[in-house]
């Protein structure tokens, strides 16, 4: 055991070294994300690799132990989604071909397994067993048969890390399924993770959204496809006098129970409204943009 009393000089030197180490930690905290990323990737590929592999195996075994009926129902839903995607991509391909645009190959979504680490710092994030080699990119939409789960934030060659909707930085532009109100989705923390909710913020004050209305992604910004279910309105959260309203939503997907997902591998949004029977008319804002572009 080291002598910890020491002389006053030795103690001062000890404190100075500790202060220098604290400075290193603060520099690490202040580093831009692009410099932090290699450190994280290095650790994931070395120290954490065996533990992440262990969970991958556990997830697969757990998946096979789940009720067969539940798996069959999930698989059927995902198959329906994939089939609808195939028909949409075929339709898109034909439209693009007719417009003379370059043909794009491949499906818009690929299946993946979710690996969750229980580290405190990794709360609201998960790892996917697909990566850059599979076509995943930063900003890829992660969805289940019930709706949107999250967004990919970091991509390695064979794996990627994503945030789910409970993450404080999760944001998606959204609209009601009938297209009457547009806004931005933000998470709302509950007393426990199971009680976390979503909020549709920034909707026009004069529009009244009734409880029970479905809220889906609006496709604004071009990052996420349009028409993916996000949640159902359960009531008004806040009315900013004369300006805008916020509504609380019951999320379409619970992250805790999700094991199998589909990950977007095609950039540029798109429209999945047909998959979930979204009847909203075309986005007026995007129509305006389109008109502006042709003027």
């Amino acid at each position: 055991m080291l002598d910890f009393d020491g002389t006053r000089r030795a103690r001062r030197k000890d404190a100075a070294i500790a202060a220098a180490i604290l400075l290193v930690a603060l520099i690490l905290l202040a580093l831009p994300v692009e410099y932090q990323q290699p450190v994280r990737q290095g650790l994931r590929a070395s120290v954490l690799q065996p533990f992440l592999m262990l969970q991958g195996q556990v997830t697969q075994r757990r998946g096979s132990a789940v009720d067969v009926g539940q798996i069959r129902a999930q698989r059927d839903s995902l198959a329906a989604l994939a089939a609808a995607q195939a028909s949409l991509s075929e339709e898109n391909r034909q439209l693009r071909a007719s417009l003379g645009l370059q043909q794009r190959v491949g499906e818009a979504f690929i299946p993946a397994n979710v690996i969750r680490a229980g580290l405190t710092s990794a709360e609201s994030t998960f790892i996917l067993d697909v990566g850059r080699a599979d076509g995943v990119f930063v900003g890829s939409t992660v969805l289940t048969a019930d709706g949107m789960l999250g967004v990919v934030w970091e991509v390695d060659e064979r794996s990627s890390q994503a945030i789910d909707w409970t993450h404080p930085d999760f944001r998606v532009s959204a609209m009601t399924a009938d297209g009457t109100a547009y806004g931005l989705i933000e998470p709302r923390r509950g007393p426990s993770r199971e009680s976390d909710m979503l909020a549709l913020t920034g909707t026009a004050f004069q529009v009244d959204v009734r409880p029970g209305r479905r809220v889906v992604s609006s496709g604004r910004g071009g990052l996420h496809p349009r028409g993916i279910p996000i949640g159902t309105v359960i009531g008004i959260e806040e009315a900013d006098t004369g300006w805008r309203k916020s509504y609380l939503l019951r999320p379409a997907v619970r992250p805790e129970a999700t094991v199998h997902v589909m990950v977007g591998v095609r950039e540029g949004g798109g429209d999945l409204g047909d998959v979930w029977q979204v009847t909203a008319p075309p986005d007026p804002l995007q129509d305006d943009d389109a008109d502006g572009g042709t003027d």
Binding site: A18, L28, R40, A122, T125, P168
Partner: protein
């Protein structure tokens, strides 16, 4: 007792203690990362705080930095916040020996409780949790409960260590 024999015993005690710390870290990674068991207490905090008491201030700070980087390895935001928290907590843990001697279970539970609470508070502040809309009240509600859970885990771990190694 001859000095040589005493040094030898101290060396064996130190070795078995650091093996115990390594086991705690491995257990944490296996249970939390490998098996995703989030109900398991944060054994990295236990390892950091117990280990820090056996090191010099600078050594404890460096040890905290390494464990912090490991804890932050899957953090997409606020990478480094745990490192800052561990460096401060471990340094103070090392220096706490100047004020409090001994390793009674009562002391361990109080020491780890306040240490874990401090880690939570620094992580909350350095990680910009308030800017992300998290309630600071969590530091007075959830954080002490988490710290108590970790402190109890530390006592259980020390009981197991002493029973297995025969050291006090």
């Amino acid at each position: 007792m001859p000095t040589g024999v005493r040094t030898d015993m101290a060396s064996r005690s130190a070795k078995s203690f650091w093996i115990f710390i390594a086991v705690l870290i491995l257990l944490h990674l296996t249970l939390r990362v490998g098996l995703a068991l989030t109900m398991v207490p944060d054994l990295l905090v236990v390892a950091a705080l117990l280990g820090a008491r056996r090191l010099s201030g600078a050594g404890a700070a460096f040890y905290g930095l390494l464990l912090g980087i490991l804890a932050d390895s899957l953090a997409l935001v606020a990478f480094g916040a745990t490192s800052v928290a561990f460096v401060v907590a471990c340094f103070l843990g090392a220096r706490s020996r100047n004020l409090f001697e001994g390793d009674s279970y009562l002391f361990i539970i109080v020491y780890v409780f306040f240490g874990a609470w401090l880690v939570e508070a620094i992580r909350f502040g350095a990680g910009g949790a308030m800017a992300r809309g998290q309630e600071p009240m969590l530091l007075l509600t959830a954080a002490p409960l988490t710290a108590l859970y970790i402190a109890l885990a530390a006592v259980v771990a020390m009981i197991a260590y002493r029973a297995l190694s025969g050291h006090r």
